[in-house]
């Protein structure tokens, strides 16, 4: 294809955006609105998962060291524990530290007559995957020098159930939202191209190939999709930061932590742009398909 022909087709695409300004505006607005709804919901899911992660991390396993071991031997167990699978963090808590912790948590006077030697050295362990808590507990119990392991398997099961429910519900809702959004967006684009069916018929009659007719529509769809995706991203950013500030500065900020926008920025931008372009281009191409059969 000659350069001047490509230039003409690209120019026609841009011209089409402005000459059908109202329909272009409608397409961009609908793409933007749908992406913001989908994006907001996805960000909500990301945050719910983050909260569940935090709660899971707080569900620690405590391994008590055999009281017959010397202090040095007890501390040397750290390497053995770290070598086990599914361990994400290990913290040694000495008898003295355990007593101090109890004193802080309960009435100090209760522990005044109790010697530290009553307490055992212990390891506070975080797991990489909470669903494998049973296996990890068994592995910890088999380490020489570990006398007892406390693990709340029932809590772990509870978290797994909650996560599974959230995953399934969010997956279903995201699929539904995506399907509805795609339908709305492609219908808007179809409506936009419906007003131009006469134009397409004229193009066909003067001998335009289907490729020649499609090209400006592809350019238009691409530009409108990018515009819709870009604007949706900027608005989503603003809304997210605004809502997060409200949460962080409010009472809820002490209870839950929110995912920083910078963490999700790039995946969100890529997803919005890709969705915008996909809907714009494919929507535009499928919308004119029927008018090309002349």
């Amino acid at each position: 294809m000659k350069l001047n022909r490509i230039g003409y087709l690209i120019k026609s695409g841009f011209k089409g955006i402005f000459s059908h300004g109202l329909m272009s505006f409608a397409s961009v607005t609908i793409i933007m609105a749908c992406l913001i709804i989908m994006g907001s919901f996805s960000l909500l899911i990301v945050n719910i998962n983050n909260i569940i992660d935090d709660l899971e991390n707080e569900n620690e396993v405590v391994a008590f060291v055999d009281e017959n071991l010397s202090d040095e031997a007890a501390q040397a167990l750290q390497a053995d524990i770290e070598a086990l699978q599914n361990i994400s963090g290990v913290r040694f808590v000495s008898r003295e530290d355990a007593r101090t912790s109890f004193e802080e948590d309960y009435d100090k006077s209760l522990f005044s007559d109790i010697d530290s030697s009553v307490f055992r050295h212990r390891y506070v362990i975080n797991l990489a995957d909470i669903s494998l808590m049973g296996d990890t507990k068994a592995a910890l119990e088999s380490v020489d020098g570990i006398a007892k392991v406390n693990a709340h398997l029932e809590y772990a099961k509870g978290f797994i159930t909650v996560r599974n429910i959230v995953s399934v519900v969010s997956l279903v809702l995201i699929i539904l939202l995506t399907a509805v959004s795609l339908l709305i967006m492609t219908n808007t684009i179809k409506l936009a191209t419906f007003t131009r069916r006469e134009e397409i018929a004229i193009m066909k009659m003067v001998g335009a190939s289907n490729g020649f007719i499609r090209c400006p529509f592809v350019v238009e769809g691409l530009v409108l999709g990018l515009l819709g995706g870009g604007l949706a991203f900027l608005l989503e950013w603003g809304i997210y930061v605004l809502v997060c500030n409200k949460i962080v500065t409010g009472v809820t900020g002490t209870l839950i932590s929110v995912v920083a926008f910078s963490t999700v920025m790039w995946p969100l931008l890529i997803a919005f742009m890709a969705a915008g372009v996909l809907v714009g281009v494919i929507g535009g191409m499928t919308a004119i398909r029927n008018y090309l059969k002349v």
Binding site: N4, R5, Y8, E198, K204, M205, V206, G207, S209, V294
Partner: protein, 230 residues
């Protein structure tokens, strides 16, 4: 140039037989009127010639293209050898006169230099010089039809097909338009005009093919329209 042999056309959706036993030829450089009452099958013949619909039976050849065997993707090539003019002009409202005409050249991938040379020439030929920057809605019906003729002519087609080109014009403009088509024919382009305007046809001494109920009922060089339209 155009050859139709035993052509039968049936609309699949309704099963209606639109044309039957259609046999006629149009030779290079001819000026032919295709006449008949509404619903006689005139427009169906045009649709067949432009590849918009396919015949159920028979052979159709247009400008060397065998339409019974022509693949859909080759249709643009056939249409580039034709210039089609419609009753309702079918101009693109958002484009100026110049752009409407140049557009047909862009479609065939003509170089810019050629477009710059050819479009003003054709606009002058149809008497529209000075109207280049106007939009269709700023022109009279006659002028809009001239733009449509310019667009049909600009790629130097072998044949012009005009479907009721004077349907939206007053008698004076209609006559002017026919004179313009005659002039174009004199320059070597074959012209097929579909109409049901008896007086207009009678004003020219040309070949007249008359059809009714989907069949050719007369084909003569008398130059007048003998068939009585209801």
């Amino acid at each position: 140039m155009v050859q139709m042999n035993d052509v039968k056309m049936v609309y699949e959706s309704s099963g209606m037989v639109a044309l039957e036993d259609i046999d006629f030829e149009i030779h290079e450089g001819e000026f032919v009127f295709l006449v008949g009452p509404s619903g006689s099958g005139k427009t169906t013949i045009i649709k067949l010639l432009t590849g918009e619909v396919q015949a159920a039976e028979g052979e159709i050849s247009v400008n060397g293209f065998d339409l019974r065997r022509l693949k859909r993707r080759k249709l643009p090539q056939l249409r580039r050898t034709l210039g089609v003019i419609f009753q309702d002009f079918r101009l693109i409202d958002k484009l100026t006169v110049y752009e409407n005409v140049a557009f047909a050249m862009h479609v065939v991938g003509a170089p810019k230099k050629e477009i710059d040379d050819r479009v003003p020439y054709v606009l002058e030929l149809v008497g529209l010089n000075g109207r280049e920057k106007r939009f269709p809605q700023e022109l009279s019906g006659g002028e809009q039809q001239r733009v449509a003729i310019a667009r049909a002519l600009v790629n130097n087609p072998r044949m012009i097909i005009a479907d009721e080109p004077t349907g939206n014009l007053d008698p004076v403009r209609s006559l002017e338009l026919m004179l313009l088509l005659e002039k174009i024919n004199a320059l070597g382009t074959t012209v097929l005009v579909v109409t049901h305007e008896k007086e207009l046809v009678n004003a020219f001494s040309k070949r007249v093919v008359a059809i009714d109920c989907g069949r050719v009922i007369s084909d003569g060089m008398d130059g007048y329209y003998s068939y009585e339209i209801e």
